[in-house]
Symmetry: C2
């Protein structure tokens, strides 16, 4: 539907959903890949993080977010949250009336292309790892996956310690545990959480030198651009609207670091009203 | 009401509320101080953590928990969560039909008694620190407070790294920042989050030797015992019932470490049903 409408020259309205500000790294990549669009971003900050919660709970929250973004006019929905994608993509697709793109398939696709050894390490939240969504997506492409939960990375990023010696030690521990027991030769590292792109420089220096890093935020933005297809050049200025379920000040403050540009006009919503 | 009923020999029903499993450290202390009671514990695990959320959101969640525990027959309510107490005690007291005890006042009272220098350092979540609830409670007792947010402690405890070198370094950084700028002589350290008692041995070895550690979980249990007053000896066996809003398996698994004994019979509830 979105593809059809924009072929007539209309700017598409793209809905982007995350549990918090992490999905803004996906939005940042999308703004580069598809600059001529109107974006509606929804961060469910009152109920974050999803990464430590169960399938049923995450699915319920994600479906509510989907319906909210459709009410805002979204013609294409990007689930910019690895946990929500990994746990609830089928439920979201069933509830949605518009096309849905999650972050797992694009990341897995890119990783499978990049891996010569056909062995990949995926870093993610506890819930993403427990779902084995990446392992399934990679195995379907003939690639073996070692999934490693990194529950300290999100709080370290939110503490602002992205280049901190403590974060380096934590990364060394997590990567040592991941690149072991048959995965010493794995040649791709997937950043399977939208907070992790902020740790990319540090992870680059900690990961074995032969390892390529695949950022699921970038892969997803490319998948969105491919889905929308070739489009006539527009103003090149994206429209941006932000909604959050908890404090708008905190969303603005924390979000600016994830989006890489100042955030204005955050609107508070309560999905239960 | 609780005090009156138990003076007739009836076991009191005590409601205990936290955003997750952290309040089980308070329950553990209560089981020692008041063993002859029926406990109903509610962990709002589907919406945790409260520590990074706003006043309005935490107050709304806490009032819902209060009403749930009253429906379970609670005659006295313990808010075993520093953030909920710090941000929403007045709203909870207004909504509750039974007496309410929070963790901040008992911890502040004990800290004020223990401090000769009348200078105290309080460690807590971001939201507890931003509320300045401890500073107000201590200043009312003539004690100066330095409140220090320690957002990495909760995930480090949940990762199980309670004696880990990384946790030690994080603790050294946080305490160095707290015991500075006029607070070098502070002689009491308040553990203002229910996760922190698990870090007590490590914090004991990192904190300056002259510093006394006040555990708000213990102080609160003593306040509950005092409120219930002298009671006839009973069976000495507490009744325990647990409710959680997210996965009951995870509550059982993680909670056992916080309660210090196996947890059975966790019942899932959805407050919106």
């Amino acid at each position: 539907m979105a593809a059809k409408e924009q072929s007539r020259g209309k700017r598409p309205i793209l809905g982007v959903f995350d549990s918090g500000v992490g999905g803004l790294t996906v939005l940042q990549s999308m703004l580069q890949a598809v600059p001529d669009a109107d974006y509606v971003y929804f961060g469910d900050t009152a109920r974050l993080p999803y990464g430590s919660k169960s399938v049923d709970t995450v699915a319920k929250y994600a479906v509510e977010a989907t319906q909210f973004l459709e009410r805002q006019g979204a013609e294409l929905l990007v689930i910019a949250c690895n946990t929500a994608t990994a746990l609830a993509l089928p439920q979201i697709e069933q509830a949605a009336r518009v096309p849905v793109i999650g972050v797992v398939e694009p990341g897995a696709e890119r990783a499978a292309e990049a891996s010569h050894k056909k062995q990949v390490v995926v870093l993610g939240t506890e819930a993403t790892v427990a779902s084995h969504a990446y392992a399934r997506a990679l195995e379907a492409r003939g690639v073996q996956a070692r999934e490693k939960a990194c529950p300290l990375f999100v709080p370290l990023v939110e503490e602002g310690w992205v280049e901190h010696p403590v974060t380096r030690q934590v990364a060394e521990i997590y990567l040592r545990e991941a690149f072991a027991e048959g995965f010493e030769q794995a040649d791709v590292l997937v950043l399977g959480c939208t907070h992790y792109p902020l740790l990319k420089p540090l992870l680059r220096s900690v990961a074995p030198p032969h390892v390529a890093i695949v950022d699921s935020a970038e892969s997803t933005a490319q998948a969105v651009a491919a889905k929308l297809g070739a489009r006539p050049a527009g103003s090149g200025h994206a429209g941006l609207k932000f909604f959050a379920t908890d404090s708008v000040e905190k969303f603005r403050r924390l979000g600016t670091r994830f989006l890489g540009r100042p955030i204005k006009n955050v609107i508070h919503v309560d999905l239960r009203e």
